[in-house]
């Protein structure tokens, strides 16, 4: 069964450092998302991406964040200068473009746990 793949599974970084989280969405999907879950809290939307551009972003997604689709398979989230409060689990998700699929399910990757020290 196709799945969304995220790497690394755990990233430890020092405050102020840049990190890049990687995602390989399901191959025929064209809508991509990043969500964040701080430990013990709910899942929060960060950004959605379609047709090589951001389609929607939340208040959390400030200038320190960026997303990119550098090639035909990867979808990355970059945090330029990490802060302690960026420590969280980051989930990538993708969605089929088949509008006839009324379920319109977003499929989630296993997540990357980011620890900022």
């Amino acid at each position: 069964e196709p799945e969304v793949t995220q790497t690394p599974s755990h990233q430890v970084t020092q405050m102020g450092q840049e990190v890049i989280l990687r995602c390989v969405p399901i191959s025929n999907h064209l809508y991509f998302y990043w969500y964040r879950q701080i430990l013990g809290q709910k899942v929060e939307f960060l950004v959605s991406f379609y047709n090589n551009e951001i389609s929607e972003k939340s208040e959390i997604f400030d200038d320190q964040f960026s997303v990119e689709r550098p090639d035909g398979s990867n979808f990355t989230l970059k945090i330029r200068s990490t802060k302690l409060e960026d420590s969280a689990m980051y989930f990538c998700a993708s969605r089929d473009t088949n509008l006839a699929d009324a379920k319109n399910i977003q499929y989630f990757g296993a997540g990357t746990r980011l620890s900022v020290l």
Binding site: E56, R95, N104, I105, G111
Partner: protein, 109 residues
């Protein structure tokens, strides 16, 4: 702004008992999802509910949707330890998903 409220947030129940988790949302939505999350793991899709009166069942879990009341329920029948996890409902209206805070379920012997 779309808001999603779940209750209870914590639930400890004995094996064999029944219980219901509630999910209220504030505005009209297109779809309602239930996800399961085990500690440190990703989100596993359980149910997608599309229309008023929709009911779906999988094993000991049954989800329903009342769009007029803006309410979904996840009913657990004869709980077993393997159901221990955090359950999230999520709502979307032209995506992205808005999640509830989750219900942490512990099933004890």
């Amino acid at each position: 702004e779309l808001k999603v409220e779940q209750n209870p947030l914590f639930l400890s129940m004995q094996e064999g008992k029944n219980y219901t988790i509630y999910c209220n949302y504030s505005t009209t939505s297109d779809r309602l999802y239930w996800y399961r999350q085990d500690p440190g793991k990703s989100l596993e899709s359980l149910f997608v509910l599309l229309s008023n009166g929709a009911v779906k069942q999988e094993g000991r879990l049954m989800a329903s949707l009342d769009t007029k009341a803006r309410l979904s329920t996840l009913h657990i029948t004869a709980a077993v330890h393997d159901l221990s996890a955090t359950y999230f409902c999520a709502v979307d209206r032209d995506t992205p998903l808005v999640f509830g805070k989750g219900t942490r379920l512990s099933v004890i012997a």
